[in-house]
């Protein structure tokens, strides 16, 4: 076990943390808002909305993320009409292709979590809201959303960890986040075990901090349950 190599690689690998976090945070936030939209579409009584949402979630959850990334990055870029369109500003950059893929992915999974959260809010709360004269949008914002978020938080914490792991796949489209740097070092030093041990530890640390952070958020939101 080459400990000196592990020590040196550690400093090279942490340079990938900013990009990893950037990718995770941006996709999670975008995905969250999109997920609320998709969740509402799913619950909607309008058939075409709920069916579209259903098939979207089905397709994204039924195919591997790596394939989705490759499809968006290489598949769409193949056509000259794409290259000449305004979409190319976004699709040209591997960073944004990765964000799109990760956002769609987290949106599909999160929309189910949020849907579960929304549907778990007892009708009683909403009836109380309308008895007090609140409109639908107001009662959604003040009553349902906070309760739904509180209910969904543990599952969402899990989703964040999955996003951090998913970010490692963007190394396959030239982005140098932690895994990208790890693979580069391995190809030069031929020491896969040492490098992966260091890289794996960094990811575990990030996930540990996220888990802790979610627990703190849970305690703050539900002081009665703590």
């Amino acid at each position: 076990m080459d400990f000196e190599l592990m020590y040196e690689s550690f400093f090279k690998l942490i340079k990938g943390i900013p990009l990893t976090l950037e990718v995770v945070i941006i996709s999670t936030i975008l995905g969250f808002f999109l997920a609320i939209l998709v969740a509402l579409m799913r619950i909607s009584k309008k058939g075409y909305l709920s069916k579209t949402a259903y098939y979207f979630v089905y397709a994204v959850r039924g195919t591997p993320l790596l394939l989705q990334i490759f499809f968006i990055y290489y598949g769409l870029a193949q056509f000259s009409f794409v290259q000449e369109s305004f979409l190319w500003i976004v699709l040209k950059d591997p960073f944004w292709c990765a964000i799109i893929a990760l956002t769609l992915n987290t949106c599909a999974y999160s929309s189910e979590i949020i849907r579960g959260g929304i549907q778990s809010v007892s009708k009683g709360y909403l009836e109380a809201g309308s008895a007090l004269g609140m409109g639908r949008i107001l009662s959604f914002r003040i009553i349902m959303l906070p309760l739904a978020i509180r209910q969904a938080l543990p599952a969402y914490g899990n989703e964040l960890i999955l996003m951090v792991k998913a970010s490692s796949l963007v190394s396959t489209v030239t982005l140098m986040e932690i895994t990208g740097i790890a693979r580069k070092i391995i190809s030069q030093t031929f020491a896969p075990i040492e490098i992966f041990l260091v890289a794996g530890s960094i990811y575990l640390l990030i996930n540990f901090l996220i888990t802790r952070g979610i627990k703190v958020a849970e305690n703050k939101l539900s002081p009665d349950l703590a």
């Binding site: 089905y58 397709a59 959850r61 039924g62 195919t63 591997p64 993320l65 790596l66 394939l67 490759f70 499809f71 290489y74 598949g75 769409l76 870029a77 193949q78 056509f79 960890i161 951090v164 792991k165 998913a166 970010s167 490692s168 796949l169 190394s171 895994t179 790890a182 693979r183 391995i186 896969p192 075990i193 992966f196 041990l197 890289a199 794996g200 990811y203 575990l204 996930n207 540990f208």
Partner: protein, 237 residues
């Protein structure tokens, strides 16, 4: 465009379908290995031994917390070395060639096992204590009780979770292209590169995965119905 997917020597259609079959086979064997690991580690977690609990806890935390790509690379590069290392201890000095299928199964199965552990543990905990007590009262041996009373109920309770694990494992097989095993993702990459047609082949790959997913869903729905035969849901007050 469709000629690219034709069967025979000029088209990649036959290769893509064979790759689909390989994906199913690798997923199957990985889930089986994962279930084996899951049963063992779940029993560790439920045992009274602190060491066993800790071992299982470390395994599931690490494997579920580290990106799958890294785990697969580690097992691929390290696994062959580890096997040869053990072989040397036993005096065998040559090279043991583990074929790509075995390595792929081992890598994906190890990951699948971490998820299966939680599913099985949850299922075992969900079996009412009364069942265990009844078994003891009837004078059954632990083995008999586990086999005839507990196991069928665990299977029923775990089935939705196993369905989830199957989905995850199916998608994880797309990450083993480093082992050069020809499953859907790898075949799509090779074909897309050779023909310079990424869109056609990645779309085909998407359709193949969705086909397998849809088939799997039907299978698990049927299985859930079959395992729930004769089971009456207790009416809650």
């Amino acid at each position: 465009m469709l000629e690219l997917l034709s069967f025979g020597d000029q088209g990649w259609g036959d290769e893509m379908l064979l790759a689909g079959l390989m994906t199913i086979l690798v997923s199957l064997s990985s889930v089986c290995l994962g279930l084996l690991i899951g049963v063992i580690l779940a029993s560790f977690k439920l045992s009274k031994s602190k060491i066993l609990k800790l071992t299982a806890e470390i395994y599931t935390t690490v494997v579920r917390g580290v990106p799958e790509l890294l785990v697969i690379y580690l097992l691929f590069f390290g696994g062959s070395s580890a096997v040869m290392y053990f072989a040397k201890i036993f005096g065998y000095d040559g090279y043991i060639e583990l074929n790509a299928f075995t390595i792929g199964t081992f890598a994906v199965g190890a990951i699948s096992g971490a998820y299966s552990t939680e599913v099985i543990r949850g299922a075992i905990l969900a079996v009412p204590k009364g069942q265990f007590e009844a078994g003891e009262t009837l004078g059954m041996s632990k083995f008999q009780m586990n086999l005839q009373v507990i196991f069928p109920q665990v299977a029923r309770l775990a089935l939705p979770g196993i369905g989830n694990v199957w989905q995850i494992t199916l998608k994880d097989t797309s990450l083993i292209s480093v082992t050069a095993l020809v499953e859907i993702m790898r075949q799509a990459k090779v074909a897309a590169a050779s023909e310079h047609e990424p869109f056609v082949f990645y779309t085909t790959a998407i359709l193949l995965y969705l086909l397998i997913t849809t088939g799997s869903n039907k299978f698990f729905n049927k299985a859930e119905k079959k395992f729930s035969k004769g089971f009456v849901v207790e009416e809650s007050a």
